[in-house]
Amino acid sequence: MTGNITSLSLIETIEALKKGEFSEAELNKAYLDRIENLNPLLNAFLTVEKPQKGIPAAIKDIIVTKDIKTTAGSKILENFISPYNATVVEKLLEQGVSIIGKTNLDEFAMGSSGENSAYKAAKNPWNLDKVPGGSSSGSVVAVAADLAAFALGTDTGGSIRQPASLCGVVGLKPSYGRVSRYGSIAMASSLDQIGPITKTVTDARLVLEWISGADGYDNNCISSKLKPDPNRIGTGQIGFKNTMKNLKVGVPKEYFGEGLDHGVEDVIKKAIQKLEELGAEIVEISLPHTEYGVAVYYIVMSSEVSSNLARFDGVRFGLGRECFGAEAKRRIMLGTFSLSSGYYDDYFAKAAKVRTLIKQDFEQAFDPSTGSGCDIIVGPVSPTVAWNLGEKVDDPLKMYLSDAYTIPASLAGIPGISIPCGFSDGLPVGLQILGKYMDEETILDVAEVYEQNTEWRLRKPSIK
């Protein structure tokens, strides 16, 4: 049995522990052995702990952990040890989860490839010459390579969904306000959200249940805990008995235009066909302001970054501001400029208005009386599969455009999930499912039925 321990999903792990098939000590040792062998190749972890009990989870190194170093992937925080745990960490510890390590990321969660880490860049387990995506690069690699039972990441413009797509795992960005961000080092406060990265959709649902709910420390998180109906968990039934009858699925035409790789497009179209075979009604919709998403995002996000990163002054914690990496500096500069006197109206205020239009696009698509009345929206997560390490590092704009399909949902605050739906050029492709604000249940239901009617999740990378 011990040989297979690390390939089990979180739910399977919990069941096996209950049945006494192995002990928590054996579980942790199995994962630690695998980390020892594979982390030197993959650079998934920046810090490895040595837990002997609990269910081993990998935590993105921007989420603070008491007495364990938290670097945010930055040189500035190379020696930072938080005096407290993030709320999500406290909630996981209460569930008997152990922290097996802190995972690599683009510095302060800024990047789409993992290469902005101030430490060694993480690598894609499906092909070590490829990027894993970012910014939750290490968390996703850890799950894809079976180095942890599950992981937590953060998603500001796609940082959970995009690497999950590129590495073939499940990544869920909950609705803005579903999970408390207390203890997540802030990047862009109107967008940041913590979410699960898991081996299966059912696992993602369980982890969201564990980490969701208000704590009184994040005033945008007033939601109650996600309390799934026990009849739904793990059954994939959705009240429509393993079919998707009565489900209306919107396919935005703007997500299939110029820039979408043909191989990815084919895989996504087949996945949509599968949803139709399972009983869903597919309708083409329009999200007309999609093409402005990246421009809005880079103003709003950079402005919030410039404000949030002002706290790194080298007085209370961390090193001096000269230690920021190139991307952090670039975004601080762009944000400071767009907020500066004389430019605010042209940039920040303008972007905030176009953000309203992007949000209204989604409201329209979901509205049954005035709009398309969709239950969910599906499309690609990333316009391409994983690209070569180094390929886009000198062209920031090209890198930014790779987030064109994940950014709009972040701007609108709605939930989104990436689930494995096939391969192109031997690399994983993720299907993005977007839902109504605070309706994670429906996207999880659909994702779960899709997962149980396909075999993509059973494919594992052979790491070499």
């Binding site: 020696n79 930072f80 040890i81 005096p83 407290y84 803005y176 306000g177 109107s190 009184g216 005033n219 945008n220 007033i222 302001h289 093409e291 402005y292 990246v294 421009a295 809005v296 880079y298 103003i299 410039s306 002002a310 002054d313 080298g314 007085v315 209370r316 914690f317 961390g318 090193l319 001096g320 501001r321 000269e322 920021f324 500096k329 670039r330 601080i332 500069m333 762009l334 400071t336 400029f337 500066s340 042209d346 940039y347 205020a349 303008k350 972007a351 905030a352 208005k353 176009v354 953000r355 309203t356 239009l357 949000k359 920031p396 704009l397 930014y400 701007l411 609108a412 605050g413 604000y437």
Partner: protein, 96 residues
């Protein structure tokens, strides 16, 4: 819209970022490229559109004014590079 080297220097000062000359040059060229792209927002008609700063539309979330658990002085100072007698130490504000 384009941004000049002098403006980039001013922005770096506002952002309290100590940038080297070659960085200032690099960022002026990169920021210009990014701002060119962002100019596409001007194609969008936004008169009469309210801005969105926060999707939750929450305002003034209050709590009871009761003291709760907080960090000890020792914990709060633990990560400070320079400290003295229970205080953070920093450069003098009025010195150049």
């Amino acid at each position: 819209m384009s941004i000049t080297l002098t403006q980039v220097q001013k922005v770096a000062k506002l952002a309290n970022l100590p940038l080297k000359d070659h960085e200032l040059e690099k960022y002026s060229s990169q920021l210009n490229k990014i701002l060119d792209y962002i100019d596409k927002l001007n194609q969008v008609e936004t008169s009469g559109v309210e801005p969105t700063f926060n999707v939750t539309n929450l305002n003034n979330v209050f709590r009871e004014d009761v003291p709760g658990k907080s960090l000890s002085q020792e914990e709060a100072l633990k990560n400070a590079p320079l400290k003295d007698k229970g205080f953070f130490m920093t450069k003098g504000v009025f010195e150049e």
